[in-house]
């Protein structure tokens, strides 16, 4: 809990790196690299997720992501999207470490294409192996408190439970278990995937999450740059509300004006 911190010092720390922004954004699905860069700027994000893919041998002069989003200004968080086994994920991240020199990575080991649900048995196994190799692994996981704990025990530097399936925009489906994960975790908890609009991001933050990671909600908005701004505001609002501590819910009305002195 950071409730004792002043507003302007409300930072969070993962694997020894401290950040002010609690919004991590993806860099996929944008219409252009220009739009992508403008959305990152508007979001205020200090970390972006990136994928590792073969260079296009037939088009070596194609513009590159690093030309538009400067890895010296924004932390690149390489992911393992599209990997379905621990071995594939580890192979990908070894290349990512060489390409960027970074050990902070996002692990996602998927079980199937239909749901893109994480395979938690492979995920925990990969987390263990990667941690042993010196990686600092932020782990995409199910919204299951027991699995989140297994990831942490395996060496995860952050646990990132899904709010809803990747790209679904359904919002946090399981606030009860997300809260349980937040309460027990000794590492940062970030909602990863499923956010659709600003209120979803605020709701995730009100549960006490340390941050939110999203891509499609911004990239597929009619105006991605405006939505990036909305998400920045929502994450900040949700965080402030969490720190402020919300009022108790009541079953019936309670007047705000005094009853005494009524004429």
């Amino acid at each position: 809990m950071n409730a004792h911190h002043p507003v302007d010092a409300d930072t969070w720390t993962v694997a020894g790196r401290t950040f002010r922004s609690r919004l991590i954004v993806g860099t996929g699905k944008y219409k252009s690299l220009e739009q992508n860069a403008a959305a990152v700027e508007a979001s205020g994000a200090e970390i972006v997720t990136v994928a590792v893919r073969r260079v296009n041998v037939s088009d070596p002069n194609a513009p590159m992501l690093t030309d538009y989003i400067d890895p010296k200004r924004v932390t690149y968080l390489p992911n393992t999207a599209g990997c379905f086994t621990a071995e594939e994920a580890i192979r990908t991240l070894r290349l990512a470490r060489e390409a960027g020199g970074w050990t902070l990575v996002k692990l996602e080991v998927l079980a199937e294409a239909k749901t893109l649900y994480p395979d938690m048995i492979e995920t925990v196994r990969a987390t263990e192996l990667l941690a042993r190799e010196g990686f600092e692994v932020m782990v995409y996981c199910t919204d299951d408190p027991i699995m989140a704990r297994r990831c942490e025990d395996a060496g995860a530097v952050a646990v990132m439970p899904l709010g809803a399936p990747i790209g679904s925009g359904l919002g946090v489906q399981n606030p009860v278990t997300i809260r349980l994960i937040v309460e027990q975790a000794k590492v940062p908890v970030l909602i990863d995937a499923g956010v659709g609009t600003a209120s979803d991001a605020a709701a995730a933050m009100e549960l006490g999450c340390d941050g939110v990671l999203m891509n499609t909600a911004i990239a597929e908005a009619k105006d991605p740059i405006l939505m990036a701004r909305a998400m920045k505001a929502a994450v900040e609002a949700g965080r402030l509300a969490y720190r402020a501590g919300r009022m108790q819910k009541r079953r019936y009305a309670d007047p705000s004006s005094p009853l005494a002195g009524l004429i």
Binding site: G26, T27, G28, K29, Y30, L33, N36, T49, V50, A51, V52, R53, R54, V55, V57, P60, N61, M64, L65, T66, Y76, P78, N79, A81, R91, R94, L95, A96, R97, E98, A99, G100, I166, G167, A193, N215, T216
Partner: protein, 77 residues
């Protein structure tokens, strides 16, 4: 270019990102990356399933039958 190679030039037959290629003998891994049009400082190279450290790209020689994966960062969620 590669297609102008004469028969007496020794070449190595390799695979790059799943595609067959021939490169002159004596090519280094850094040379291979440049040959296909990329900056060795902006990619990562896997040779026969093992990552080639960037610091050695200019020293490691391409061998006949090598299998390369050359990757970089692209947009992703």
């Amino acid at each position: 270019m590669l297609q102008s190679m004469t028969t007496e030039t020794e070449t190595h037959s390799i695979s790059v990102n799943g595609e067959h290629r021939r490169v002159p003998a004596g090519t280094t891994v850094a040379g291979l990356v440049q040959l296909i049009g990329f900056d060795p400082a902006r990619v990562a190279v896997e040779r026969n399933l093992a990552v080639v450290p960037r610091s050695t790209l200019g020293e490691v020689q391409v061998e006949d039958g090598d299998d390369y994966e050359i990757v970089h960062f692209v947009g992703g969620g």
